[in-house]
Structures are given as structure tokens and as C-alpha cells.
Amino acid sequence: MFAHLFKLIWNKKKQNFLLMLEIFISFLVIFAVFTMIVYYYRNYKKPLGFDYENVWVIKYNNTLQTSNNDSLSLFYETLKQTIKAMPQVKDITFTSYNIPMSQASSQSGFTHNNEQFMGVNWYFVDDNYKNVLDMKMLEGRWFNKQDVVTKNHPVVINESLKERLFGNNPATGKIIGDARQQDKMHVIGVVEDIKQFGDYVNPGIAVFHKADTSAFHWFGRMLVKVSPDADATFESHLYKTIANYMRNANIEIEHMDNNRKGINTFYLVPVIILLVVAIFLTINVTLGLFGVLWYNINKRKAEIGLRRAVGASGNSVSWQLVAEALVLATFSLFAGSFLAVQFPLLRIFDLPATIYITALILAILFIYLLVLLCSLYPGKQAAAVYPAVALHED
């Protein structure tokens, strides 16, 4: 039966070519859209890994001209104590520019067992970072005062990096980095991934380094965890305190929950625009497909009448027409899937293969559903053809 249908479509391949081309391109568009949706959804489902509520970001620039690390350290330590003494402040940390919910990123790489790890997010943090952001330790511990920078300097890695390095084995206590590198890293703990770039972006692999005192030369961010009752009055007081202390610096205070909204919008807007365009294209294709199928079936009234006359039931005729449309779509889907599987095979974008496969399956189902919907009504019309009338027409 199916072989017969394939043959029917194949014989009319020249006539159906444009229709197949249209389905083929729609499939590619739908595949791209689904890949994006699946990617965003999977990232969205992952836990955030930290708490952004009541965290304020203070942006500043170091304007102290001293080269003495100790006096620099003393300067910022005093500021830290001043801020921490305020009743609304729960905790404070100094860190590098690549704070969570910001676009700023700092990436580096290292080799381990001759495997290259590129694009590793490189965070420089202090002992309070984990508490301010309420991050979750999966094993080992966070930095503390005893961690002095020795030959193998202590690091905390994130879950994704741990999985790539050690699989399911514990990472605590291991040394990472190859022998020829001078600076090897001693893993003291593993934290849950923190989604630095907002809810919809894969956090990637990350290494947290304990910052030494010289880092104050180039640090530019403070994160402050405040109590829920901290309001604008307190914020202006905090602002004044810092601005008076750091006379030459430019200060800005942001709220991390606003930053989250901002960065999520930044990543969602292009997707929403693409979705709107894709929905419109789909409606367009659906209407067109419907029109063409409808016309084709009307043109074949004589054939349908003949089929009815020799005993085919109305249902079987309409089923045949629907099946024909689906077979037609299958040709396009074959070609489309062939192209689509190149993405995971050639690793065109750095996405896991499962995302592509899920998107591929969803796109195939979607196209079949579309074609089914478009052919159901024309098929039903064909079933209503009276053999006598149809044959009389010719």
C-alpha cells in the first residue's frame, strides 16, 4: 500500500517539486526554531545555582595610585568593615568584573591529561563570595583564611567542569593542569553551576580562584547582600559613604534582580522576534499548502469517482489522499533531516547532540501534524464525491 503511494508521488515528482521544496524549507526553519527553544528550555530548567534576591552590585574603579599591595589591601579592608557595620548589610564580597547576571566574561583555558579545556570562565573571588550569593557546595569546601597561595594554588570548580574532568568521581583533593604548566590547580571543592548570563544561557565550565591582595588593583565590583528592608534611603546612605571614602572613583549601585531582568530580556528578545517571524511563516505555509492540496484534489475528481465506483469507501479514499500528502512530506523530511543531522555531526554550533535530536524529532512531528491538518479537510471533501456526478463531469 505504502509502496504504491510512494510510487504515485514519485511519478508526479516534477509537479510536486515546488510543494516539496516548500515543505523542505519550512522544515529547516522549524528545526532551527525548535533547536533554539529546546536549548533555552533546557537551560531554563537548570537551577540558578545562586540567589540574586537582595544582592546589590556596586561598580567602582580603583583610583589609588599606590603599588603597595598592603596599603591597598588595608584601604579596601577598611571600606569592607565600614559597609559591613551597617545594620542592613548582611555580607559583602569584592570580585572581578564577571559577576553573575552581567555580560562581562573572563575566559581562559588549561590542559589536563593532554585534553584542552578552552573557554573556561575564570572567576576571582574572596572568602565571602559563596555566602553573598548563597551558592551550593556539592563537595569539599569553599575558600577560607588558611588558603594561602602556594605552588599549587587552591581552586573551586563548578559541577560541569567536574563532570568533564572526573565524571562521577569526586574531585576534591585532585590536582588539575598538566605537568609542563607552572601553575597547577588544587581542587578544594565543587559548587553547583551558577548561571552567570541569566536564566536562558548555558553557564559553561568555570574555575573560581582565590584572589590575592594584588587583585585590588584591577577589581571593580562589590556584591552586597542586604536585608529585605533595605530601601532607597539606605541605598543613598550607602552610596554617600562609599563616594566619600573613595573620592576619585565613579560609583554605581545596581540591583541584581534588575540585572537579571535586563540580561534575560537581552537574550529573549531576538528569540521572540524569530518566533513571531516563524509563526507567521508557518501560517503562511499552512494556508498555501491547504490551498494547493485542495485544488489538487478537486482536479482529481474523475480519478476519485472511479475509485468510488469500483468499490472504495469514502473513508478509504480520504485516507488515501491524506496518506499521499504525508508521503509527499516524507520526501522533504528525508532531505531535511539529512541536512539537519550535519549540525551535530560537524559540530557546527557548540551544542550537545541531544538538543539537536530532540529538536529534529519535534520538527518532524510538527511538519507531519501540519500536513495532516492541511489535508484532512480536502480529504474529507473527496470522500463526499459521488461517483455518478464525478464521472458524469468528464
Binding site: Y239, I251, G291, Y295
Partner: protein
Amino acid sequence: MLKNYFKIAVAVLRRKKFFTFISLFGISITLTILMVLTAFIDKVINDNYPDRKRDRSLYINSIEETGEHARNGGALSFYFLNHYAGSLKTPVKIAIHSGSNATNTYINNKKIDLRYKYTNAAFWEVAEYDFTEGKPFTQRQIENSEHVAVISEDLKKEYFGDMPSVVGKYIEVDNVQYRVCGVVKSVPITNYVFYGDIYLPYTVSKTDYNGKEYRGDYLGILLAASKSDVPKMRKEFEQMVPRIPMSSKDYDKIHTYADTYFTAFVRTGNEEASGVTIAMTAIGVFTFLVMLLPTLNLVNINITRIMERSSEIGVRKAFGAASGTLVYQFLVENLILTLLGGLIGTILSFVIIQVFNSIQPIPNLILSLNFTVLGMALLICLIFGLLSGVYPAWRMSRLNVVTALKAS
């Protein structure tokens, strides 16, 4: 003749309402998408507020110093722009201004986020902001390091409320009091070169602007005396760059460019890949994809429509109409359909742009359907009509008279 074709086209359109609807839907929505997109791009790259002398200006937005092991880029220093760009002969004015940085100010227990920008006096002559009151600060005020500020209308509203005039009033920003000397119409954030809420003299900047390093926080605009001097000015800048001494042993080359606004806007900072090519390719691919599917759809629908009219074609052919005449007729019909779709599309885009302007998702970004956009739309319409009409018309003209007549 054309009148006849027009009559036939209208009759055909009215006969099969469903197909007409599909065609018009496809054409009008595709055009709407493309038109809103062009309106947006046109606003972002062709808007001439506040730099009305854009065709006489070249923009210096970045510098990159490269060496064997080092590569560092960013905005430029005041010193570099003042000393090196300032030594050029062709430019009549050089505007130097810092990139817009963010800070907060607090008033009546309310927080205001704002962007500040340091400028020199020439900035106000190169960029012609619309002053709703007051005037820009002068060269003398800059030399005296006076704490004066030009603020945007948005900031005025937020900080002072509905006060009629704020010139002479004080505003506190970054813990410093500034006297307002002028208020300007706000610039949308998409125009990042000129965007800001408060403009201050560079001499009151907290960071040292006399440092001799090349990278810093400033951007420059070179203004030529006339449009014809622009290529000469660019050449002079290009010739000057290789003569600049290296700022450090680590570097052996300095890359910096005086570009037109659009090139500067899309410059990636990468030497190998030109930003213009990337931006153009991205827009081109998007447009192609958006147009490809509806076009295919239209071709399919059009084929269906002509096949239905095979008896008419057969009769006309039998009475001696040449293939060319029929192709011509069908193209005209198709163009009428497309133009009708274009009209609906224009109305739709107009509505969408009105909605966009009343919501203002990007503050102060007011889109408009101007003549460029309308012209583009018309062009797109014609391409669309031809693309979707040529193939069906060609197939139709090859129809055999006997088959065509027998089909009915």
C-alpha cells in the same frame, strides 16, 4: 490594454476569494516584517539627531595596540585624540567626548540611574543638540573647570519634576554639585555615540585626562569643512597613524580608524573580519529567509491559479495570442496583486510603528515610515511580484492549446 488587464485581474481576484486571501496575507505580512525591520535599521544608522553634519564627519571609536604576544583594545585617551588627531590639518573641528558611563543619584529617597559623558567645547558644535532651554558650556568654562552641566529632558523630568525652567539650578551627580546650564532633547540608547543624560566639561572628570597612554575612555569626531574634504581627511588620518610612536615595547602596531558613522557602528575591533560585511550578511540572510518561503508559497498558489484558467489561456492561444503577451498579462496581474498586498502591508506597518512608538520599548526611539522605507518597500514589492510571477507565467505560456482546451 493595461486597463483591460487590470479589469481581468480584479475579476480573477474576486472569483477565488480564498486564494486571494492567502496571497494577500503572505505578501502583506512579509512586507510588514521587512518594512518594520528597515524602519528600525534606518532609525539606528541613519538618524541624524544630534549629528546633523554626519556626511562631513568621521568617527574615531576605538584603538587597538598589537604586538607579538599582546593585543589590547578599547576606547582612546584624551591625550591621543587631542595631541595626534588634533595635529591634523584638514578637520575644522574635533569633538572629544567620553563614552557614556553609568552612575546613580538620589533625590527625595528616589534613585535615578543616569549616564554621564565628558565633552570638550567643540563637541557642541559638531553635534547639534536641540536645546529646549539654556546653552552649552563654553571653552572658558571648561578651562576654568567650572562645575556646569547640560542635562537631557528625561533627566530634567526625573530629577526636577515638572519645573518650567531649571537653568541655574543645581544637580548632584556622583557626589558632586553641578549647575545646570542647558537642557537638550534626549537621544535614544541605540545612538551610543551621543547617548547620555548629563554632559560635563572634561576638565571636571575625576580620572586624569592628561595621561600619555593611548587607550582610555574617550571617542573622537573629526569634522571636515565640506563633504568633499572627507576622503582627504580620512587619508590624512591614515597616514598619521603609522608615524605615532609605540606606547610600550610590547606593541609593534597601532590600529585605529576614522570611519563613517555606519562603519564605526559595526566595526568589530577585529582586524581580519570587517564589521560591515558581517552586518550586511546577517541582514541579507535574514531577509532572504523571510522572503523565500512566502515567495515559494506564492509560486505554488499562482501555478494553481493559472492551471484553473487553462481554458481561458487555451482560447486566447487558439485565437492567436503570442506567449509573450500572455506572460506579460500574467506578470501585470501578479504585480497588481503584489502592489495591493504592499498597500495593506504599508497600512499594517504604519499601525505597528504607531503601537511601537506609543509603548516605546526603547525610550526615545521613535520610528517613522519615511521615504527611504517606503521606497524600499516598493522595491521589495516589485522584486516579490516578479519572483513569484515569472515561473508560473513561464509554465503557463508553454501550455499546449489542445490540452488546455480539453481540460475543461
